[in-house]
Symmetry: C2
Subunit: 423 residues, 2 copies
């Protein structure tokens, strides 16, 4: 039984109660959203934690990607990143490890994470080939499903599966004038596998098998956007939309099978195309929860891509994206450090909260109103406790002279707020 | 003679040539924009530098505020901030000093700045009172005009004048249910002055005198938004719009007098109100250049307000704002350090560039396309040289192991780009 099947039977679960309480809404309201397929509660039956929901008019959630790479394998560091991401306020963690003992890292992250955990099982499939001294693309359909089943058993709450990479969409990609190619790792692997074997993507061809498998564990499918643009120039092109149409069909089939499903989205998108991207996804996928990576509104800011992604993420969330995958300052340069993870989560939370205010999520403005009142009263303790991340604010102010005054060193006695009473 | 009066006579000036060259457009095209009042070239006849234009469909410009405060007076530090802001790519500097020898600091900044310099002459008026051991609001109309004239003579290129703070708009403010009050320093001073003296704002009452004065030096008026919201809750309220309507009238009068003019805008604005704010300003002010501060899309991120402002600034620029005033991480906490200045300029440039791509500014996408091609080719030197700020990108990557490989430690051998040839 999945949360969707319970919702279809109008049965409020403990998971719905916990997730609704987090939102400050009635469980029945959440149940209706789940039933309609516009919200999901990613929680594996084998993972014990207090879940949060992702979906329409709920608080926009923030995911932090962590995990090793073949060139940087440090088990302890990834656990530190997990801790840092949680402290910074992440709602979800994806373990995207591709180096070292993948099973051990994944299981440790699941054990230690108080929030939902997502993975891309295909990475393990490719890494297993590598371990066997085979080409990373030398896997077959059974290898893919075996790893998915392993992730389901292990307690993963949502999995990214690139079911929309098909013979048809790979052709669409090859026929396109893209400049950045395919930038999704899973997408590239499957596209290359299809090209080499001339077989159809098993995740597409045997999608019903996938649905049966994840249903058993109530693993939420996150339908990956393998053809997401990797350059603002490539945004909203034919391959991207061709894949999105397939994902919409697959989302409908998932719902029919009572499998919870969300859709992944771009990527690199100019600001003026973000709204149409969100609306198009919502339309083509019957308002399934939308999980976007960024989007980055320019390609030229490596080192600062958490900011670029916050711009696009705030816009996306405002127009209806439900789940933001963070981007760290290290994106396009190297594996993120714990500090990068922290900065990435904070920037993405600012974007998510800006979106929540814009789309009128319940209670979203409460903290802003409180902060503004504390500011008006020059109540610094009040400001600190209302801050999205208090430590930086406290440190910055205490770093200045005269921090014990009521005003700050920006304006001193010319503080507009301290002059208000004269008006 | 101002650039506007030359434009009215269809005479292309050296300033127009230089500014048009910077944009990659024909001088005649820029002349037409200036003539129509939709672009300005802020350049005092007493300030020798290569000017840039601000306005419709030109590159969105970025301003960095620097300057002392009564609680933090360090002449050398402000000159370092000037240097840092220029290195980071600022198109304009505002000296907002309120502490120490204001004239000396201002003149040194003008002397050393290779870009346009703006000021708020009223700060000097208030600080002069302080120096005379009088209440900071103890100034009169002549004091205000004397300081404006002094700034004009000194070579300031644009001045913020809060002409829209009037008896009427102060009443509108008092009748409102604002929670954050007035957060503009100049706005607060004049509102308090009006309340105390019961006189009309001299900058409004004697606006023609102001126009005559600045005309002589071709100082561009930046009509200040003294009633800009200081909380997202207060955004787009009656006082703000009442003031904007007055600024629209004053902009028309400025153009008639052949004085170049731009309009300042908010402030703190929820994401979903930014578009209407920009469109409303453009409509009420006949498309006069719009110079916005942020806007900040949430109030709860002190310590990270450069990111919050980048979100709002990118949206504003996309919808037509022409000039972004940066916000640094130190906003609401203390006077910015040189590092804060750097981070503020970079974040705002990302916003401005994201806006330029969105609104189709000529050549805006060129660097993004180049970057994407370098990425696709894993050409790191190409990526560095195309980066908006190369140093951080270089440092971050060189901070990782294996940085001499073609791929990076994010994906290593699983790099999607290195696998492209297999598709």
């Amino acid at each position: 039984m999945t949360q969707l099947s319970f919702a279809n039977k109008n049965k409020i679960t403990e998971e719905m109660k916990a997730a609704a309480a987090y939102e400050g809404i009635e469980p029945q309201e959440l149940l209706e959203k789940i039933k309609a397929g516009v919200a999901v509660i990613p929680k594996n039956i084998n993972h014990d934690f207090s879940p949060r929901a992702v979906g329409q008019n709920l608080k926009t959630k923030v995911n932090a990607n962590i995990g090793t790479s073949p060139d940087h394998i440090c088990f302890e560091e990834e656990l530190i990143k997990l801790k840092v991401a949680i402290e910074a306020g992440a709602d979800a963690i994806m373990d995207l490890s591709t180096g070292g003992d993948l099973k051990a890292i994944r299981d440790e992250i699941i054990k230690n994470s108080p929030v939902m955990v997502g993975t891309v099982p295909l990475y393990k499939t490719a890494a297993n080939m590598e371990l066997d001294n085979r080409d990373i693309l030398d896997f077959n359909s059974e290898d893919i499903f075996a790893d998915i089943e392993d992730h389901c058993r292990a307690g993963v709450d949502f999995i990214t599966v690139h079911c929309g990479i098909t013979k048809e969409t790979v052709k669409s990609f090859k026929d396109s004038d893209r400049i950045a190619g395919i930038v999704s790792r899973g997408g590239t692997m499957l596209a290359a596998w299809i090209s080499q074997t001339n077989n159809e993507n098993p995740l597409f061809e045997h999608y019903d098998r996938l649905l049966e498998l994840v249903y058993e564990y109530d693993v939420t499918l996150s339908l990956g956007d393998g053809l997401r643009p990797g350059s603002v120039f490539d945004a909203t092109d034919k391959p991207q939309i061709d894949e999105l149409k397939i994902l919409g069909e697959l989302a409908r089939r998932a719902r029919k099978s009572e499998v919870q499903v969300m859709i992944e989205g771009p990527g690199h998108v100019p600001f003026n195309q973000i709204k149409e991207n969100i609306l198009l996804q919502k339309k083509l996928c019957d308002n399934a929860p939308f999980y976007v990576l960024g989007p980055l509104t320019t390609d030229i800011a490596p080192g600062y891509d958490h900011i670029t992604a916050a711009i696009g993420g705030a816009a996306a969330a405002s127009y209806g994206a439900d789940f933001l995958c963070y981007v760290t300052p290290a994106e396009h340069l190297r594996l993120p450090t714990p500090q990068d993870v922290f900065d990435g989560v904070i920037a993405t939370r600012i974007a998510a909260h800006s979106g929540d205010i814009a789309k009128g999520v319940k209670g979203a403005l409460d903290k802003d109103i409180a902060m503004s009142k504390y500011r008006r009263a020059l109540d610094w303790e009040g400001m600190y406790k209302t801050a999205l991340e208090p430590k930086k604010a406290i440190d910055m102010r205490k770093d200045s002279e005269d921090y014990k005054k009521d005003v700050c060193t920006m304006c001193g006695k010319f503080c507009s707020l301290s002059l208000q009473d004269k008006i």
